[in-house]
Symmetry: C2
Subunit: 240 residues, 2 copies
């Protein structure tokens, strides 16, 4: 019966603003929450509490939790800026790859969403922000001289590799680099030597991993391979 608001028992959130909510505010708070505490911390109730609102108010800005996740995905992907000013499509793609990699490292907890959400939504029905990179890269490739269909193939190979690399890198990336080595060794030590001799021997090498370099090399290999059909661009019908 006491209408007095309890004296703010959570100390983390400094701003109990009662300003109007907005989709942007909801989504960016959700992203902040995911970034700091992981995906499973993003519940409707928790997000409501973070915004100092009833959980149900969120449903005005996202139809349900899945839509909210899509929103976060879109928000993150919007951080990826693609400027097609550079005439060299190869260096362009290389640049985008590094940008996306850094984006993923900035929001590691969102990466599962990035790779997983599209699996449950047909391409055409995905949030527009999600499709924009695709459109832009297609455009970039077509402008560079690729037939549209070939551009699609190139895109697939390129983006596939890129996502794969990001997943790879994030797997070996442990939050605390201090205990990384220790944990890694501990883990490796657990492996039966008879069954995993190679892996165990690679312990030190696994420890230091230059993701940017590795990505760059992979991209180089891929690009040189993909550029081939452009070189002999007489027939647009067959390859790729």
């Amino acid at each position: 019966m006491e209408p007095v608001p309890p004296p703010n028992n959570q100390s983390t959130v400094p701003a109990p603003d009662k300003t109007r909510l907005s989709r942007e505010l909801v989504l960016s708070t959700a992203l902040a929450l995911v970034d700091s505490e992981g995906l499973e911390a993003l519940t409707m109730r928790r997000l409501g509490q973070e915004l100092n609102r009833d959980p149900m108010s969120l449903y005005r800005y996202a139809a349900n939790r899945a839509a909210l996740l899509d929103g976060v995905t879109e928000l993150v992907l919007n951080e990826l800026a693609i400027f097609p000013q550079d005439p060299d499509w190869q260096s362009q793609l290389r640049q985008i790859a590094h940008d996306l990699r850094l984006l993923a490292l900035r929001h590691p907890n969102v990466v599962p969403l990035l790779v997983t959400r599209p699996l449950s939504t047909p391409l055409g029905l995905r949030p527009l922000g999600t499709l924009r990179p695709l459109e832009q890269i297609l455009s970039l490739l077509i402008d560079a001289g690729f037939e549209p269909a070939d551009a699609l193939h190139v895109y697939r190979a390129y983006y596939g590799f890129l996502y794969g690399h990001i997943l790879n890198e994030l797997q070996e990336y442990i939050v605390d680099p201090e205990e990384n080595e220790a944990l890694l060794r501990l883990g490796l030590h657990r492996l039966p030597p008879k069954e995993f001799p190679r892996l165990r021997a690679l312990g030190p090498v696994l420890a230091d991993y230059d993701g940017a370099a590795e990505l760059d090399q992979g991209i180089s290999i891929l690009l040189s391979g993909l550029a081939a059909p452009l070189a002999r661009a007489g027939t647009s019908t067959k390859p790729l």
Copy 2:
């Protein structure tokens, strides 16, 4: 107080076997459930009901739900047989790639687990079945003449691309090929023409997607690029 067991009110499950449970039985039933009804259908209660047991009995075979998911992942990965008999490492890797692709198509609902679970577990602490392909491929590459460290790099590029491709393919793969075209067009039609001209124009091309071919080409590009350091193997001590 009445000790009489209620006369079996659920009619769905045909096999009310009351045989002893086992980890294998639990996991394979879980996998079957995921395959047929998707990841979100795999709840402890539902799985218990599928096995005609109290949900709590499952905790004797998996510490918690996360461990259960790991178990399913491992089970699926065990379907991947790697026989290092073929002396040609390139064709070997190509073979594995196709095998893994088919595995993913056989268990599309498990793919999110495949790419996501490792993100939450440090490499050394993952289920052994999960690490076995890694070990085997490393072994394969080292036997082929790669320095261990180089083998790791090759593995990363290769597996990265492979996982990326699988994700890509599954994204464009819609369950019902009948309504695929329709849904796709519907979806594409929704896109603002001004903003997505390229994507919209590619509708027909998007519709037919030969995943195997696309994968094969990508692998070819990658392998030819990766084989280069082997060719100029001056610094290498290993005899081929």
